[in-house]
């Protein structure tokens, strides 16, 4: 299954894929493109990825989450051109109880942001284009294999 998608993310479909009569709590998160970043007006952006590793990393995060909590989860990241308001990431976790659903959903999002090799190029209203560095240029912290 492709966890990186160049098509719009379908939250309802992801929710349907994890819900069940035994799993009453469903927590989800959608991260959408904002119209501003660091005080500049963003028109649109482009995500690129190290695709085979991004797929592998997303799959590892899903497997870890399902082994750590009694949950069924779905995780997708968008690549390609996105407009303001488009969802870049969707995470869903369904569990018998809400604590587990929230914890698992949060884990999916945090780990995806921390580990999935995806890069974002922002296109600004003034015509400039930049690669976004969320670390603000800090020295990267090496990641051990999980």
């Amino acid at each position: 299954m492709k966890l990186l998608s160049s098509d719009p993310l379908d939250l309802a479909g992801l929710m349907a894929s994890v819900q069940s009569p035994a799993r009453g709590g469903v927590a989800c998160f959608l991260g959408a493109v904002r119209d501003h970043h660091a005080g500049r007006q963003v028109l649109r952006l482009r995500y690129s990825a190290y695709e085979p590793m991004a797929e592998a990393e997303l799959a590892r995060i899903v497997a870890e989450t399902e082994s750590r909590w009694p949950v069924a989860v779905a995780l997708r990241h968008r690549v390609g051109r996105l407009e303001v308001g488009d969802a870049a990431i969707a995470a869903v976790a369904a569990a018998p109880h809400r604590d587990e659903a929230f914890a698992a959903c949060r884990y999916l999002v945090e780990e995806a942001k921390r580990r999935v090799p995806v890069w974002k190029q922002e296109f600004y209203a003034d015509g400039s284009v930049e690669w976004v560095d969320p670390t603000g240029g800090a020295q990267p912290v090496p990641m051990e294999p999980v």
């Binding site: 190290y50 590793m53 942001k113 890069w119 690669w131 560095d133 020295q139 990267p140 051990e144």
Partner: protein
């Protein structure tokens, strides 16, 4: 007589801002074993634009995050990852 060091060919991938700075997305590097990911990256630094890489960039080996002291073998795929910006 010690055996001559084995040379290993590995592939290095560059992405996003790093690919732009070096004007390359993929480089084949041959180097004597034993070697580490850090040693491979040091070879990339010798290329034009390579000195723009941070001292200790984020790296992956065969599709998984690794530290710079991870050993490499012939045929490995090493990726130098700019700061991740997903989500």
């Amino acid at each position: 007589m010690t055996p001559a060091p084995t040379n290993a060919a590995v592939r290095v991938l560059l992405f996003a801002s790093y690919a732009e700075r070096l004007g390359l997305e993929s480089i084949d590097v041959s180097l004597p074993l034993p070697a580490t990911v850090g040693g491979v990256i040091d070879r990339v630094r010798e290329l034009p634009g390579g000195s723009d890489l941070p001292p200790r960039p984020l790296c992956a080996l065969n599709l998984a995050h690794v530290s710079l002291d991870a050993p490499v073998a012939a045929g490995d795929e090493i990726a130098v990852l700019p700061p991740l910006a997903g989500g």
